[in-house]
Each structure stands twice: as C-alpha cells, then as structure tokens.
C-alpha cells in the first residue's frame, strides 16, 4: 500500500497517511477536564435523544463515558489496538514508534483491532471498577494506588481520519469549513471498513439500515456558532468546544489554542495512533503517570503539574471557570482579577464569569416571612 507523508504536530514529525496532507479551514475540537467528570452520562443521553433514538441505534452511543482502566465501549477497544501495536516509544516530544498506518500489515491501509459483535452489547460495562483490590487498612496517597477515572469520548474528527482512509468508496468525508467528519448516508454500502479501521471505534453499524453511522459533531449547531449537545448539556461543566489551530498558528486568546498549545494542559487521546485526533483531555491528577503517558503522551506528567498549579495562574484559572458557562463557541477570552470574559468572532461579549462565586450570608431569622432558615449541608 502506497502511503503519503503528512505532518502530524502531535507526534512532532511527519507520519504516513493514505491521502496527501490537507487541513480544513477550521478544525472542530473538544477539551475535556477529566478531573471534573462524574460519569453522570448526561452527555451520552443528550447525544442519544438528539441523534440516535431510532431503530437500529438502540445500543449506539456516539458519545459515551467509560471507566478507566477496565471499562470500554466497545469492550476492550483500547486494549485491543494497543496490544496489536505493541510497545512503542517517544524520544522527548517526538514519537519514535510506529503509527497504526505505519504498522499496517501487508495489503492493508491501517493496523486494526476488530471489535466483536458482543463487544457492542455492553455500552457501560466496567463502570466504577477500580484498578486494584482495596485492602483492609488502605489509605489514599497521590497518585492513588487504587484508582479509576472516567473517560468521556466522542468521535475525534481526526485531521487524518482512519475511517476516511479506510472507506473504499469515499463515502466518508471531512468538511472543509470545520473539519467535521461525516458518513454520507446515501453513499455508504455497509462494508464496515471504517468500523474495522477506526482505532477509537466510533463509526458504528446500524443493523436496521445496514450501513454505518458516526458522531456528526453536532454540525447543525456548529453552523450556528454553538457548541455540540454533549458539551452544552454537561452538568459538570467539564467540556469546552471550539476550533484548534496548528501550533505554528496558535492564537493565545483562543481558549482551545491556549489550553492545547500555550499551556499544553489539554492533550490528545492516543496520539500515537497517528490520526491526529481532535479531542483533548486535561489528565486526572490522581491516576498513575505511566498510564496517563500511554493515553495522552509524554506531556501528561507536566500537564498534571500545571493543573495542580492552576490556582496560582490567573488566566488559566479564569479559563477553567468559563467551561460550561455558555452555548456559543468562544473565539477569544480574557481574564482580569475578578472575572473571565468570552467573545465571539466579531469580538462581541458572550459571557462573563466571576473567578470566585460571591457568597451571601443571610440572617437566621427571615423577618419578612417570619421563618427560620436552615443550613442543610
């Protein structure tokens, strides 16, 4: 299989891909703060009720939340492909291992882990399972010896999508205007090459229609300048969506660029796969660094440290409190000592959030209502 060379900034080098390098005008992205996710699945349900409530989509979750290290939808999607890829290394910020395209078997486009039928039947298996057995007398250390964390996932709308590369009939395309990757429902013939090839296992087969579907990045909302359903419905306010630039074009006033490039706090999920995914994660501070490095690359340790120090970084602190405070996509933000502010593309104000929530102390006895107030912790 003849491969092209494309630049992958997440790997710090050129990497193999099936098609020549091409970047969209803008690139859709979501940042998730894993320290705040409680796996309430409001995102999953917001997505489901909006997009996948039809026949054949019953167990289909374009957005899902799984418990790491053992949970996964489909079961073992990550373990399967990591085991196939084998031990790979980074040399500093440059990936010296093989990507999935570079590790492809003869006559294949990409190295594949194929999820079996029953792997799709348990959307939330392994929920809340911890990584080790709790012993009598255990106490908590940092990082935790007995740990788990929640990993919410959508399609990564990759810059170099495996699904686009794998589809033999170009029924999947990446939009020029926002980088969203879509399966053309009238063109798909249900071969499931995308289902096999995507390392994140986000294209899914609909047995009712006999063709494949995937997360559409809520493109009708994006077109209106709004964030996706899974982002705006997140009650934990762990998500922020917008557009990510390449590092050379990073704009520090763009909240996504600020967290991904300027602070390097939000890291791509399994960038070693080589698809340049556009879902970025602020890693959890309590999980073992080795595991986080496998999942988020060599900067995971530094990101954990930066997050711990966020309380002393006014701009970063301000940006983190802006998460989940608006439906509109922010083009830029600024922070002063009291508030964080968000603006749209024209510079119009969208949101203003105080860095510290004001506290009101009220009298124990309300004279007007002649009632006593209770503190209910």
């Amino acid at each position: 299989m003849q491969m092209r060379k494309v630049h992958n900034w997440q790997l710090g080098r050129n990497a193999s891909y099936v098609y020549p390098q091409h970047r969209p005008k803008k690139q859709w992205a979501i940042i998730f703060d894993l320290n705040k996710c409680i796996s309430c699945q409001t995102c999953s349900l917001a997505c489901k009720t909006t997009w996948t409530s039809g026949k054949g989509q019953e167990y289909m979750f374009w957005n899902n939340v799984e418990t790491k290290p053992y949970g996964g939808y489909p079961v073992g999607w990550d373990l399967g492909i990591l085991a196939k890829l084998g031990f790979q290394e980074w040399a500093g910020d440059k990936y010296s291992g093989k990507t999935l395209f570079e590790a492809a078997e003869k006559d294949e486009k990409i190295l594949q882990h194929i999820a079996e039928d029953q792997d799709w039947a348990h959307p939330n298996i392994g929920e809340d399972e911890v990584a080790a057995t709790v012993n009598k007398g255990d106490w908590i250390t940092m990082p935790h010896r007995i740990w788990m964390f929640y990993l919410p996932r959508t399609c990564a709308h990759c810059t170099y999508p495996a699904c686009v590369a794998a589809c033999p009939r170009k029924a999947i395309y990446k939009r020029e205007e926002d980088g969203i990757v879509l399966v053309d429902q009238s063109r798909c013939r249900g071969y499931r090459e995308c289902v096999r090839a995507c390392p994140y296992k986000k294209p899914m087969f609909n047995v009712e229609t006999r063709i494949s579907e995937k997360c559409i990045g809520c493109y009708p909302k994006i077109e209106q300048g709004e964030m996706p359903q899974c982002v705006t419905n997140c009650i934990g306010k762990i998500r922020l969506s917008g557009f990510v630039s390449t590092p050379d074009k990073s704009k520090k006033e763009n909240p996504i660029d600020y967290l991904v490039h300027e602070k390097k706090l939000a890291l791509p999920l399994y960038s070693q796969f080589g698809t340049e995914p556009n879902i970025y994660y602020i890693p959890p501070i309590h999980a073992p660094i080795q595991y986080l490095e496998q999942m988020f690359g060599p900067r995971a340790g530094a990101a954990v440290q930066a997050y711990k120090n966020a309380k002393d970084d006014l701009t970063l602190k301000g940006l983190l409190v802006i998460f989940g405070s608006m439906e509109k996509i922010l083009s830029s933000f600024k922070v002063d000592k009291d508030n964080a502010y968000g603006y749209d593309e024209k510079g119009s104000s969208i949101v203003k959030v105080p860095l510290t929530e004001p506290m009101y102390v009220r009298d124990f006895h309300d004279k007007k209502l002649n009632a006593y107030r209770h503190n209910t912790p």
Partner: protein, 289 residues
C-alpha cells in the same frame, strides 16, 4: 524518479499483457440454448442436470487495498442456459458456513457476475474504468433470507435487545403516532437518505454499475431475478435476466456472440466484504448459443 515510473509502467503493462494473453483461452464457457422457458427456470430443475458445469478458479482480489491475505472460496462451478429471450447463470461453490443473518459484525455470503456495458473497448476487468462502465448483478445471502423470512431488522438480529420506545411509535395514540411512515423514518438515517440497502426489494439480486474501484452504484432497476439455496455445505445461486433490456447501461446479449464476464464470491464468516473477496483472475467469456 521518472525512470522509476517508466520502468514500473513497463513491468505492469507486461504483466497485464501476459495475464490477458494467458486468460483469453483460459476460460470460455457456453450458455446452452434450451427449449424450456428460462425465465421461469428453478434452482434444482432437471434442465441443469444436462448442462456441464464449468470450473472457474478464484483468487484473492489483488489490485486495490485492502486486499485479503487469502479467501475462503477458491473455485466456483458455472452453468448457463438461454432460450433466446432469457439467460440464466447457475453458480455453485463450497462454503461450510451459511452467513445470511444480520448482526453488527456479521458479513453476508455473496456472489456477483460482472459484464462490460460495451465490449469494445473492453473495460478494465476489475470494476471497469472511467467512461467504460461495467454492469454487475450481485446476490447477497442477507437478501435471500429477507425474501424467505421477511426483511431482517434489529428485532430479528437481537431479539433480546430492549428499547423503551421509538419516536412517534407509542402504544397510546397521539403525540405524533399518526405521522406518515416517511415522517417516522426520519429517525432511521439510511431510510431517510433513500439508501437502497436500507429498504426491502422485490428481487434478491441487486443491479449495479461501476466505472472503476470505489464507484459502485446501485442501478435502481430490478431486471434480474434469482434464487439461492444452502445445502450440505454448498451454496447454489441462479441469476436470470432477459437477453435484452431497454436500459442503456445494462448488458445486452446476442445469440451467437461471446460476452466477457467476471465473477466474485464473498465468504461472510471470514469477514469478506467489498474488496476483500475472491475473484476470477481476468475477463472470461460466455458464448451465447
């Protein structure tokens, strides 16, 4: 670099020339003229017993990635008859697994016959080429089972699957239950988009055209009927169509003339699908008597 390309072109063209020169005599079989009504011939009719089966070797698809490392079906037995109005092809091959049920990661057994729309100039044997379309008649085991037992859906695939309710499909009337099927189907994307795979069809054979790999398109006509049976670890499938049809982009047969033909077979349990298939190595020819 240029020298490299020229060199490669030379190598490829000589390989191709060799393949074509070799295959020209390699397979030619006859569609025998018969007195029976071929339009109504059945899978196991006596008519087939007097027709010599021709063995067509198959090999892995070897031109477009992804290519299967190996394939499940290495040979298919061909028979053909015609009555001057209709032509029938009967394909039989060994396959110990019957793959005709839909599930997320189930792949259907299948077989296809390909003809050039125009013999001169002959299109590339693998899926045709731009400006030189091929006409493909394609049988899929899923469609045979649909025909026998009703269109398979999520309920037949996963009888124990649970869902609280579907939009506009409630047991109590109101809240949209009176909407038309088309309005309800908006929640079933393949149907809403009019994808031919998402709806049931009269025939078990799909007609398609292609002008190169990746350009396959359903023709939305159903001139080919068929029947299929899996018995004792063997599939037998018949394809029946008129010698001539009004559609310009369909194959037209003429008595006394030869028609180039190619075959493909998919073994579902090996996850064969699309280009992961067994193919005849080049154009063969069928002589319509």
């Amino acid at each position: 670099m240029l020298r490299k390309i020229i060199c490669l072109i030379f190598v490829f063209s000589s390989v191709a020339a060799f393949a074509y020169a070799g295959e020209k005599e390699f397979v030619e079989f006859s569609s025998f003229r018969t007195n029976i009504d071929v339009g109504k011939v059945r899978l196991n009719d006596d008519a087939w017993e007097t027709v010599i089966p021709y063995k067509q070797p198959l090999q892995r698809q070897f031109l477009v990635a992804p290519m299967p490392a190996d394939v499940g079906v290495k040979e298919v037995f061909l028979q053909s008859i015609n009555d001057g109005k209709h032509i029938a092809f009967r394909l039989a091959w060994k396959d110990t697994t019957r793959d005709d049920g839909i599930k997320i990661m189930n792949f259907s057994d299948g077989a296809a016959i390909q003809f050039p729309v125009k013999k001169e100039p002959l299109p590339e044997f693998f899926m045709g080429e731009p400006g030189k379309p091929v006409h493909i008649i394609y049988w899929k085991a899923w469609r045979s089972r649909d025909h026998a037992e009703g269109f398979q859906n999520v309920k037949t695939a996963y009888p124990n699957m649970t869902a609280d309710m579907y939009n506009f499909d409630y047991s109590i009337k109101g809240n949209g239950t009176d909407k038309t099927q088309a309005e309800k189907d908006i929640f079933i994307p393949g149907k809403a988009a009019g994808n031919p795979l998402s709806v049931s069809h009269k025939e078990i054979i799909e007609e398609l055209s292609a002008e190169g790999a990746g350009t396959l398109a359903s023709k939305n006509i159903e001139n080919t009927s068929g029947d299929a049976e899996w018995k004792n670890g063997e599939w037998t499938v018949i394809f029946i169509r008129p010698l001539n049809v009004s559609d310009e982009k369909s194959v037209q047969f003429k008595a006394g003339e030869k028609m180039p033909v190619a075959f493909a077979v998919w073994e579902g349990s090996r996850m064969e699908s699309a280009g992961r298939k067994a193919v005849s190595p080049a154009w063969a020819e069928v002589k319509v008597e």
